[in-house]
């Protein structure tokens, strides 16, 4: 393949670039931030190994959204709550890694937040919690979760919506 013969994904990107920029301008409330993000997407696409992608246009929107969330997460990571939460998690693993002890109050707040999240999830009916676990924690699609649980796709959608509504009501600021 020649250098001037772009991969199918790259060709899609070039064709959809303006659509992506318009969508992310709306999401980020800033044309400059959207332009940055769409640039980053180009770097990701041109550097990644090609996989079989069923629906390249939807993939591009998802990729952009994930990049946007990664930025959000790294911003949050600098906040006390995030730092504290990570240390709490690490200390439950092998016990070797707890090097940066966060301030005690930040760690306590993080532990409390995690505790609230778990408590809220444990109040769900088991089938809803199972659907949530398989989909959100183990990364199965709705179709795969439906197959694993032996129920219809639409009931998985209902379980995930119910779980998220419940968590949102209990936890969102």
């Amino acid at each position: 393949m020649d250098a001037d013969d772009p991969s199918p994904l790259l060709a899609h990107y070039l064709a959809k670039r303006e659509d992506l920029k318009r969508y992310f301008t709306l999401r980020l409330r800033s044309p400059e931030a959207a332009e940055d993000l769409v640039q980053d997407m180009y770097l990701k696409i041109s550097g990644a190994p090609p996989g079989e992608i069923d629906n390249p246009s939807a993939f591009l929107f998802r990729l952009g959204s994930n990049l946007m969330l990664d930025r959000l997460k790294s911003q949050r990571r600098s906040t006390a709550r995030e730092t504290g939460w990570r240390a709490v998690t690490v200390s439950t693993l092998a016990g070797h890694d707890v090097a940066d002890e966060p301030a005690a109050d930040a760690a306590a707040a993080a532990r409390q937040r995690l505790g609230q999240m778990i408590e809220a999830l444990n109040d769900l009916p088991p089938a809803t919690r199972r659907a949530f676990r398989l989909h959100k924690l183990e990364g199965l699609s709705h179709a795969q979760t439906a197959e694993a649980m032996g129920v219809s796709r639409s009931s998985i959608e209902k379980h995930i919506s119910a779980a998220l509504k419940h968590l949102f009501k209990r936890l969102a600021d």
């Binding site: 393949m1 550097g47 079989e52 969330l69 693993l93 070797h96 088991p126 649980m149 998220l164 509504k165």
Partner: protein, 339 residues
């Protein structure tokens, strides 16, 4: 579901619907366009969407902390057991009762048969779950206990947890494990004719072509024959790498730069005198277009770091280092020696 939506603004309820739909795994471009239209309709829509998305993203960062502490969710029809297992402590049983009370108001909503559901809480069954990746696909999974697994392309593992042990069967696969500490339940990996026993540690398992390469980057693991026997287990600590082929009487253990074994997670392949035959196996998992290596080129060796960015570029780099040429025949790439 009448009780949960009532005190939620309709924008938030709709935003949840969007998030769920777009993460279902088969969202189409039209779904994203519909979302764009909805977001543009009213400023409150974007505000609501951001709040829900923020929670959704926060759940990802907490996944490893959440997974081990979720209450049992085994399905009612999966098992009926006459006696509770002796190792279940009173405290645990108490937690189950609290959980049962907590979801009781939901029972009608979810349509669960109460008695069967309560019976199910007695025992967490070992229902095996398979995780697999195709060509050019890698996957990050957080297991129930908080253990994190990264699966390389073209890999398959099966996981089953019960009250006694966490068991993983590694078939043809390469995977990195960051195992959550649980002194009560050892983490046991069956691979080829060996068993890897873990307490809490990080390591990479490569199971290809009846061979095993195990590299430990943190903590301690033990390896012993699946069949048991008299010999003491081989104990590996950080930086150790064990290599063997099925049926070998003994394994080779060497000290290595452990980070190299994890390079595949950054789409890099590190070779120390790898034959082209072996290398082709990795490339064929990482990329979509099949690569065939002619017999005259299979023994050629390559040393160095290959960045797995793009199949044509990788083949081009190999051709620059080795006396080979690459021919495209229809949908395949054929590498042959030019000597």
């Amino acid at each position: 579901m009448t009780t949960i939506g009532e005190d939620m603004s309709s924008a938030e309820g709709q935003a949840i619907g969007w998030i769920v739909r777009l993460h279902a795994g088969d969202a189409a471009e039209s779904d994203w366009r519909d979302l764009e239209t909805w977001l543009a309709e009213h400023p409150s829509h974007l505000d609501a969407y951001e709040r829900v998305e923020s929670l959704w993203a926060e759940l990802d960062t907490m996944a490893a902390g959440i997974a081990p502490r979720l209450a049992d969710d085994s399905l009612p029809q999966a098992q009926i057991l006459p006696f509770a297992r002796p190792e279940r402590t009173a405290a645990k049983a108490g937690a189950k009762r609290r959980a049962a009370r907590a979801w009781a108001p939901w029972a009608g909503v979810a349509g669960l048969a109460g008695a069967a559901a309560v019976a199910a809480l007695v025992l967490a069954p070992a229902v095996p779950t398979a995780y697999a990746t195709g060509r050019g696909e890698t996957r990050h999974v957080v297991l129930k206990d908080g253990t994190k697994v990264d699966l390389n392309a073209g890999s398959r593992i099966t996981v089953s947890f019960d009250g006694h042990a966490r068991r993983v069967q590694v078939d043809d696969a390469e995977a990195s494990f960051d195992v959550a500490h649980d002194a009560a339940r050892p983490f046991l990996i069956a691979v080829g004719d060996q068993q890897i026993r873990v307490v809490g540690t990080q390591f990479n398992v490569r199971r290809r072509d009846a061979g095993l390469t195990l590299t430990v980057s943190r903590g301690v693991v033990e390896v012993r024959p699946l069949a048991g026997g008299e010999a003491p287990p081989v104990r590996l600590t950080a930086g150790d790498q064990l290599a063997r082929r099925d049926g070998d009487a003994a394994s080779t253990v060497s000290h290595v730069a452990a980070a190299e074994a994890f390079a595949w997670r950054e789409h890099r392949l590190i070779c120390h005198a790898c034959t082209l035959g072996t290398l082709a196996g990795d490339l064929n998992r990482a990329f979509v277009t099949p690569i065939d290596v002619e017999a005259n080129a299979r023994p050629l060796t390559f040393s160095g770091v290959l960045v797995l960015d793009n199949e044509d570029a990788v083949v081009g780099r190999l051709a620059a280092f080795l006396p080979i040429k690459a021919d495209r025949t229809g949908t395949r790439i054929v590498l042959s020696s030019t000597r």
